[in-house]
């Protein structure tokens, strides 16, 4: 990830974050070309609850903007919530819903209350590793109301940008389809599940948004032309 080589990003992360990495997927190297593979960044509280995520590789400016947004929003949330965890969670989810509206032109209602939900890990709605072991639940996104008509120009610009970024189709509650890029889909997810544990969320980001398989298998190197170079060695 080139963004992490940027000194300004490094300085900001060192000031406000403690960083770690985890290998959750793999890819294939066929000849010299890489097939698959991706990266997701999670900004979490020390107890593992996710405040925000960045799906896929981004440039240094975008990474810094997202990191600063987390820090500033968390500061405002702590001030507004007055040490009440439920209020802080509602504040963060509402902040994601607001960003979805302002930057992507879609209105989704933030889910500010989590009903008790006994998780069925044996059911079909679970991300699994290649051996079939349940990894993380498939998280249900909040209902999307549709476009914000007040931001028509922004919506058009966002749709054009999303088309360039490789957007995916999302259905609103009326069944209409909307193109949304990875970061927009992260905000949709976070409007309903921010402050959820990273173990619950990572499947929805890595498999649900990035379309990668969660795997602990090693990187597979495939040489489709094994005879190339063999003659040179003789």
């Amino acid at each position: 990830m080139n963004a992490l080589a940027n000194p300004e990003v490094g300085k900001y992360l060192e000031t406000y974050f403690v960083c770690a990495f985890q290998r959750v997927g793999t890819f294939r190297i066929v000849g010299k070309a890489k097939q698959g593979g991706n990266v997701a960044t999670y900004f979490c509280a020390p107890d593992g609850r996710v405040l925000h995520a960045v799906a896929g590789p981004v440039d240094a400016a975008t990474f810094l903007r997202e990191a600063k947004w987390v820090v500033e929003t968390a500061k405002k949330g702590i001030e507004a919530a007055k040490k009440d965890g439920a209020s802080f969670k509602a504040f963060m989810r509402t902040a994601h819903a607001e960003r979805l509206r302002n930057e992507h032109g879609l209105i989704a209602e933030a889910v500010t209350f989590d009903p008790p939900d006994p998780q069925d890990n044996d059911g079909a709605l679970t991300y699994r590793d290649p051996s079939g072991r349940p990894l993380a639940p498939v998280l249900r996104p909040p209902p999307i109301d549709g476009p914000d008509v007040k931001f028509r120009l922004q919506l058009e610009a966002a749709a054009a940008k999303a088309a360039q970024d490789g957007a995916a189709l999302l259905r609103d509650r009326h069944g209409r389809g909307w193109a949304l890029n990875n970061q927009g889909r992260v905000h949709v997810l976070m409007a309903a599940h921010a402050m959820g544990q990273i173990e619950k969320l990572y499947g929805s980001v890595f498999e649900g948004i990035l379309g990668e398989r969660i795997s602990t298998r090693p990187v597979e190197v495939v040489n489709p032309f094994p005879w190339v170079g063999r003659d040179a060695k003789r």
């Binding site: 990003v9 060192e14 403690v18 960083c19 990266v39 900004f43 509280a45 020390p46």
Partner: protein
């Protein structure tokens, strides 16, 4: 004239040798300031749980990267 060269030539050569060293000495702290792990400018803890422990102690947030392949090897990331 020969006596002049006998003293000035070694002095010029010594100056030539020391100037690059001084330039390096000035540059090094700047490089160290952004030097991180695995070709980044960020220091990574061994695991997310180590990062969480340190974050709790230092009152910081945790940044966890989920990656495909081996982060330690740029060819396999």
């Amino acid at each position: 004239m020969r006596a002049y060269f006998r003293w000035s030539l070694p002095a010029v050569m010594m100056l030539g040798l020391t100037v690059p060293c001084q330039a390096d000495a000035v540059k090094k702290p700047a490089n160290n300031a952004v030097c991180g792990d695995y070709g980044t400018s960020v220091h990574f803890e061994k695991s997310p749980s180590d990062a969480a422990r340190r974050a709790l102690k230092e009152e910081k947030l945790v940044c966890v990267l989920h990656i495909s392949g081996y982060f330690e090897d740029p060819d396999y990331t």
